[in-house]
Amino acid sequence: MAFPKQIKTNINLVPPKTLSARREQLLEFINKDGTYLPQSVLHADLDLGMLEFVKEKLKTTVSGKDINVVDKIITNQRWSQFTETWNFKDPDFNVQLPFITVVRQPEVKYGTNPSTQYTIPNRKQFYYATVPTWNGNQKGFDVYTIPQPVPVDLNFQVKIMCNRMRELNTFNKNVLQTFSSRQAYTFIKGQYVPIIMNNITDESVTEIEKRQYYIQSYDFTMLGYLIDEEEFEVKPAVARVVQLFETDVNVAKGRRAETFPPNPNEFEYRLFYTSGNTTLIDNQVDYRINLSLVSTNNINGWDVTINGDFYGSNLDTIQLNTGDILQVDITKDNVGEEALILYNAKLV
């Protein structure tokens, strides 16, 4: 009877999160950098996610030795390939078997991920988060919106090249166990991206007069999506303004502004009589004022009539209301000369 070989030395005593707590946890993964927005997920990120997946989930060990994985997606750049594989080269500087490499088909087609297919036209922006703002004076919210991610299918070929069947078998076992449900997930910038296994083909060299080795190719399709932070929008929402004023309680030492033109509440009220004139009539007094006599010149005496009613003679003070009709008749000392009665008018 076989005994189980996997011995767990560390058991997680904290139960994994479920339901809404798990959803919040997933959101925290996405917003890990603290910008309230997801990070961009572009082609290079998806490729890196596939590389990490192969290195971690499809790690293959035979006879106590790990099979090397080429640490980059090999492109047409020769020096890069040389640099990335230098640590497992033979004396001819050729890559030494066994090793695993990841080849991505250069063309990336529109995705078949059913959750993001042709559902929203015209790159419409969708609400993602409301973020509080405070600039020291203005408290408000910004509304973050993002468009629907663009689905993409990336086709990868993971190839193992080796000399022995047991290496093929071990790698094949790892792959089939990982993809026993047809798909597996890689974790890219906080997001789980599915990978589907399609096909397994053999490209081994079987010609007699050539160096013989096995090549097996595993075809995978990553059902990814592109999230481009250049398409994110941030719009201001409701804002409240708090305006604070400080008042100096000390006596103002500054110069007061002068009113111009001047607007006094007292002014001269002059009754000037030309030669030969002894009666002046103000048909409509514009103010409610008190007149106080200041001086007279060439005046022997005067009679005051208000609204046709005699008011008095030689009056030092006169009270007038708005709209009153004032008539002042004088007697000159010298009849042929000019005369003046000067009152001070004070607005009441």
Partner: protein
Amino acid sequence: MSDKLVPITRLGKFFGGEDYSLDVAMGSEWLEGDMNFTVILYRIDRYKTLQDDVYGEVPEGGIQFLAPVEIKGLVQILAPTAQKLGTSRIEQNEPGNMKFSIYQSYLDELQVEIQMGDYLGYYETESKVRYYSVADDGRVVSDNRHTYGGYKPFYRTIIAAPVSQNEFFGT
């Protein structure tokens, strides 16, 4: 091999066994004495070498060789080819095969047989050795080329494909 010996009488009017032996001896002198291309033959010990029951593959460190033998013959190394490993983008400069011609009489004298899968080591410089795996041991020598003017076969041509060092050392 038949126990009954039948004399070869073809070409008898102007060529015979003595001529044949003389020419082979002169050729051997030139090849083994003057040219002196030396290859080390690593014969697999097919009894002591460990292998798994299903695939017959050697586990790590399980390959065992008989005592290495220096053999002399005509060495031709074909030109390397730049190629990619299968459909991967891994490029490499694949070394060319070794074409090794050797007199059968020489092998008979050494009592050595070269078989498919044996390894050949050829020192390209004092410190650099390249290993080859015998892909064609040249056992079939019935063609005109391997016979001396149609008289009798006299040499073998062995084709060996390059192998990596870790394959040779069984790691």
